[in-house]
């Protein structure tokens, strides 16, 4: 099976993406690995694909998105990195591969994904739920059931599609929705790319909900997944499932807190995290500035606030009037902002 595997990120996550693709290439050297980058190269940095573990970089302006400056401005970094996943999936499905697999940059493989490929012989779309078992404590219900109720049942750190049948239909549908409605707005039922896929099992018949606990292990399902490592050096989930990939979400204090809450004394989990931190550190390019994202600021260096983006995306007239909203000339959106915000406040 010819497989294209991609991840979506900005330069701040280059270290994670490198770690991911190191692991992908270790187990699947024949897969075509694509770095989907929504960013610009930091000053003084060079990126040579020949020395990277991925095979290709695709930039945001290669996705055929109309009015790209305006479109980018409507999204914050989380929204945009999830939004581009859709149009790229659609594009990748037309490039002659048999399957396309998306993995978040902060995931990492610990064994091969051959069983997934077997599933893709039969199914056109494969999703992994956040959790596979009912939670037992009130705290866990809040964390791991109520949160998915508004953030999405399936974790979109992973999705696999066949480039045929319902796989193609899914890619078309998801691309359209993400181009138009990939926002972090739980109050209206939206949560970036993820919440959309709650509809997928109803919309697409040939879809597999993968219930193997070895896939997409993360802090939100750790309380039902016991990690062990045997004397042959293999990592197991719940004793009989090989660990396929881990989702190292929130590398830092928050991730640590959630991991500790559910891993408790399952110390093998901390061994995995310890290793992952080391890998990410090794894969970090010092040329990438702290918290770098090329589309986070106006062209005068002022940060673009979320409220500015929301104002712009909620007002089609502004989009028409300011097709390049990050610019800061005298007739710019930036210049008009104080009055626009005042008007907005006055209008409630």
């Amino acid at each position: 099976m010819r497989v294209l595997c991609y991840t979506s990120f900005t330069f701040s996550y280059l270290n994670r993406a490198r770690t991911l693709f190191d692991s992908v290439k270790k187990f699947h050297p024949d897969w075509h690995c694509v770095a989907l980058m929504t960013d610009k190269l930091p000053d003084g940095m060079q990126l040579n694909v020949a020395t990277e573990s991925f095979d290709q970089i695709v930039w945001q302006n290669e996705l055929g998105i109309e009015g790209i400056d305006s479109w980018l401005f409507k999204h914050d970094v989380v929204e945009v990195c999830t939004a581009v996943k859709g149009p790229f999936l659609k594009m990748a499905c037309q490039q002659g591969y048999d399957a396309v697999i998306y993995l978040d940059p902060d995931t990492c493989l610990f064994s091969d994904l051959k069983p997934l490929l077997s599933q893709l012989e039969q199914y056109d779309v494969v999703l992994t739920p956040h959790t596979l078992e009912p939670q037992e404590t009130i705290s866990a219900i809040w964390d791991n059931e109520i949160t998915p109720l508004w953030a999405g049942t399936y974790n979109l750190g992973f999705v696999a599609v066949r480039t045929k049948g319902d796989g193609l239909k899914f890619a078309d549908w998801w691309a359209h929705r993400l181009l138009n409605f990939c926002y972090d707005r739980p109050s209206v039922g939206l949560f970036v790319d993820q919440k959309w896929c709650d509809l997928a099992p109803a919309l697409f018949d040939n879809l597999k909900i993968l219930r193997d606990p070895g896939y997409n292990v993360a802090s939100w399902n750790l309380n039902n997944r016991k990690i062990s490592i045997d004397d042959d050096g293999l990592i197991w989930v719940n004793g009989s499932y090989l660990l396929r990939f881990w989702h190292f979400t929130k590398l830092g204090a928050t991730g640590d807190a959630m991991t500790e809450r559910y891993a408790k004394d399952n110390f093998q989990v901390y061994e995995l995290w310890h290793w992952y931190r080391h890998q990410v550190a090794n894969n970090t390019s010092p040329e990438v500035p702290d918290r770098y994202w090329a589309f986070g600021d106006y062209d005068n260096g002022e940060p673009i606030k979320k409220v500015h983006r929301e104002l712009y995306r909620d007002t089609p007239a502004l989009q028409a009037q300011y097709p390049r909203p990050h610019e800061t000339g005298s007739q710019s959106f930036f210049a008009a902002l104080p009055q626009l915000l005042k008007d907005k406040k006055a209008n409630g």
């Binding site: 270290n15 970094v77 990195c81 949160t147 953030a151 293999l234 990592i235 061994e271 994202w293």
Partner: protein
């Protein structure tokens, strides 16, 4: 932030963070107007600074989250939907804590009363709600190792500076914790307080806690402060808070994730350990070669048989189990007319030293210190010696930790050695961690390259392949591997890394029946002891856990025979240091107190495990783990010497149940330990 009142209602319903009764009581104008509390709060109240409940003070939320205030966002909805997942906190304890500060006696009663009632709102048990998405912390966390460390240190510094602002405790607060404070523990852990002659309780309550010192062995000040930030916010002494309130609220006094969590949290790379060792090391003054020259002249010109030895430290000045063995061996060599030079590294390490440049080595000649030397000068001097006509020199390597293997090989070359003996006191010759533990936490056999278990290990990632380096000895010289146990030899052979010219098993000691017996004591308490040094890899935390969980069990008296434990815990400490004379202090100490059971739960494979032999010789039964190497083999193959548990959970369970009382036999034989002659038992056998 929230577009409709309906959405707001959906989110707050079921959460006690919105309390209509509280709101109407606190805002009589709303009540008098007959308005719905949540409607008023959503449309007007929060903008007027009215809090939705006692548990959620919007001024506190705003003061801690200026970005929310600046953005004009309604704080309760923000907290419930986003703030929790972002780790933002509600300082709901502040009001209670004011009371605690002002009246600790009342506070004790208050918290005792509420501790009986379960928390009404499930959300109160959940400090965070995780909203999964990638990049959610992209802008706030770039977590590579070094910045993380700096960030953590910076956070600790900020915390420390905040703690300085906490006012001195009241007399009532000090009185409230007095019975929970362990003076013996405090003075032993912090000798500076002892030296200063300060009252330890006063020191802890006024200053010690701000320096993250602990008041007893069961309370971690740092853990409590970092997991209960509301206590710091309320400017309360954490120990007082725990005693008065926290323990009843279900707050924990120590991290519950086990000792392996602690080890992994503090795990350092081998390079870092070497750097730190160098930092704390004062290079010794180099000596002249007079003593070396005189000895070389003797062995090169007479028929004196010479032994070239290597050890990890100066075994004549340091006292430990292996050092005692080596002293005994030295005495045997002297008795057999061998002359003996032994080299040890000036800088002791838990690994070999990959750096040959400037390497300094110490020497003992027949057990007497001969000086420290630049290894390059020593080797140059040795190369000039003419050994023609001298007896062939043999080497005995007890340990290469701290040594540079190229230096070792050069020394042996210069001595024109052809063969010798390599002792398997540890596993440094087959893995980068001498005790075979992966990440210092688990024994999973000899780690195999390219398997996850291997590359997950901090030691495997070291840039030096210790096994390859030590392999230079095996590749260049005819080397007999001497193992103190068959079990250790099996592990070593299974690695398949080295070709020894021969292998021998020489146990350090054997049990000799004395004909004496011990009759099960007719007393009310079972005597259970940990035997040996209180170290993680020896399984000390497992014993500590057993004693902690058995605090209410008056039928067991716990002991620790050895060193390294803390006072103020549920066991009696019996300091036993290895005897410099080579005697068996441990056996007599165990016999004197009539110990029934010795818990020796090593989590790494012991190559011998002398303490298990000592315990059995003293008539105690041994409880150990499958992973303990030769200890498990000894207990199992000898039969009747104790029990082997497949994992520590089973061991702990056994100790907490009545099963433990069935372990001692009515009649137990007592033994004498017959020690081997070490290398002399096999020298020349080939």
């Amino acid at each position: 932030m929230v577009s409709s009142f309906e959405t707001f209602k959906l989110v707050i319903d079921g959460s006690s963070y919105f309390d209509a009764d509280y709101y109407l009581t606190a805002n009589s104008d709303v009540k008098d107007a007959g308005l719905d509390a949540s409607w008023h709060y959503f449309h007007h109240g929060w903008k007027e600074g009215r809090s939705p409940s006692e548990a959620f003070n919007i001024h506190t939320y705003w003061s801690e989250n200026q970005d929310i205030k600046t953005a004009g966002i309604e704080p309760l909805f923000h907290f419930l939907v986003f703030g929790k997942s972002e780790g933002r906190r509600v300082n709901k304890a502040t009001e209670h804590h004011k009371e605690l500060v002002e009246n600790p006696v009342m506070a004790l009663a208050f918290f005792s009363a509420i501790s009986a009632a379960p928390t009404a709102d499930p959300a109160l048990n959940s400090t965070e709600v995780v909203a999964e998405t990638q990049h959610s912390e992209e802008s706030s966390e770039v977590s590579v190792e070094t910045p993380d460390t700096k960030k953590a240190l910076a956070e600790i510094e900020i915390l420390r500076s905040r703690l300085q602002g906490v006012k001195s405790p009241s007399k009532e607060q000090i009185a409230a914790v007095k019975d929970h404070f362990c003076t013996e523990f405090y003075l032993e852990q912090y000798p500076d307080v002892l030296d200063a002659g300060i009252d330890p309780l006063q020191h802890y309550m006024r200053q010690g806690w701000k320096e993250f010192r602990d008041p007893n062995a069961y309370f971690s000040t740092e853990y409590y402060i970092t997991t209960s930030p509301d206590v710091v916010d309320a400017k309360l002494n954490p120990f007082f808070h725990y005693v008065a309130a926290g323990q009843f609220e279900g707050r924990l006094a120590q991290n519950p994730n086990g000792f392996r969590y602690r080890i992994l949290k503090n795990l350092k790379s081998v390079d870092q350990k070497i750097r730190e060792a160098k930092l704390h090391h004062t290079p010794p003054q180099l000596s002249d070669f007079n003593k070396i020259d005189a000895w070389l002249a003797k062995i090169s010109s007479t028929r004196t048989q010479a032994i070239i030895g290597f050890s990890h430290d100066n075994f004549m000045s340091n006292v430990g189990g292996v050092q005692i063995m080596m002293r005994r061996e030295l005495a045997e060599f002297s008795g057999a007319d061998f002359s003996h030079i032994s080299f040890f590294p000036a800088l002791p390490l838990a690994s070999i030293n990959p750096n040959q440049v400037g390497f300094v080595i110490g020497a003992l000649i027949d057990g007497r210190f001969a000086g420290y030397f630049a290894a390059s000068d020593l080797i140059a001097r040795l190369r000039k010696v003419d050994f023609t006509g001298a007896q062939e020199r043999q080497f005995v390597i007890h340990n290469l930790l701290g040594h540079n293997v190229d230096v070792v090989v050069s020394i042996l070359d210069a001595f024109k050695c052809k063969s010798g003996y390599f002792w398997l006191h540890d596993y440094a010759s087959i893995y980068n961690n001498w005790n075979l533990l992966v990440n210092d936490v688990a024994f999973r056999g000899v780690p195999k390259k390219d398997k996850p278990n291997y590359y997950l290990c901090q030691y495997a990632r070291w840039g030096t392949d210790q096994a390859f380096e030590i392999g230079k000895v095996f590749r260049k010289f005819a080397t007999c591997l001497v193992s103190p146990s068959q079990k250790a030899l099996d592990y070593w052979l299974s690695s398949g890394l080295h070709n020894a010219s021969s292998v021998k098993v020489v146990p350090h000691c054997t049990l000799v029946d004395t004909g004496e017996i011990k009759i099960k004591a007719d007393r009310t308490k079972l005597k259970v002891a940990f035997v040996g040094h209180a170290a993680d890899h020896k399984g000390w935390p497992i014993f500590e856990e057993i004693t902690k969980l058995s605090r209410d069990n008056a039928a067991i008296q716990f002991y620790h025979f050895g060193s390294g434990s803390k006072p103020g815990m549920n066991f009696t400490r019996v300091p036993v240091e290895p005897s410099a004379s080579g005697g068996t202090n441990m056996v007599s100490a165990l016999r004197n107190l009539e110990i029934d059971i010795a818990i020796i739960p090593s989590i790494c494979p012991e190559t011998f495990g002398l303490v298990a032999y000592e315990a059995v010789a003293a008539g105690a039964k041994v409880l150990t783990l499958e992973d303990s190497g030769n200890i498990a083999s000894f207990v199992r193959t000898s039969g009747g010497y104790g029990l082997v548990f497949s994992d520590e959970a089973k061991l702990i369970q056994h100790c907490l149940s009545t099963d433990i009382f069935e372990v001692p036999d009515q009649i137990t034989p007592l033994f004498h330990l017959e020690f081997s002659k070490m290398t002399l038992d096999v020298l020349g056998a080939d």
